[in-house]
Symmetry: C2
Subunit: 117 residues, 2 copies
Amino acid sequence: MPEQTSLDPAVAARLRRNADGLVPAIVRRHDDGDVLMLAWMDDEALHRTLTTGRATYWSRSRRQHWVKGETSGNHQYVRSVALDCDGDTILLTVEQVGPACHTGAPTCFFDEIKLAS
Amino acid sequence: MPEQTSLDPAVAARLRRNADGLVPAIVRRHDDGDVLMLAWMDDEALHRTLTTGRATYWSRSRRQHWVKGETSGNHQYVRSVALDCDGDTILLTVEQVGPACHTGAPTCFFDEIKLAS
């Protein structure tokens, strides 16, 4: 389970987490609004994101926190954070340094699926 | 569990679903790119979305499919669909009729959280 956190209790009270204690975070670029990626946050990741201004997530595969860009250099400087109406999704607006995707693509959503209609 | 589906096997093979057989779908407006909401899709919801051009999701609370706007009239006509690099998130670009949020707000992300930094 994600660790103890010092996330503002007023914010924590608004979060609706999944069974693993996580909330999906949609990340978009501040200047053109393009959607870059989706990652996951526990309370501590959100706390660190809010207090450091650097997008910080919970890696479900590695089971640890990661600061975006820590190894790649492709940092995300957070401009604003919003919760949705249900408190179960976060929207980060960021200044993205370099490509957002680990493949080197500008965004993770480069794989278009054809509409049949 | 979500029901059997006739989703194109080539698309189904690219999906990475969670333990409930679901994939999060980020929804953005086609003209200004604003992020409207996040919902969940099983294979059948994606199949219906791709073949009808109407955004169709899986309701986790009601455990059934729902066509966005079916009761509210606030339809989403799908312009394009993309998968992310991992196949575990969908991005829908839609023409949104009326407000996207059930609260009547234009988008679900109206609840800003203050940055401490």
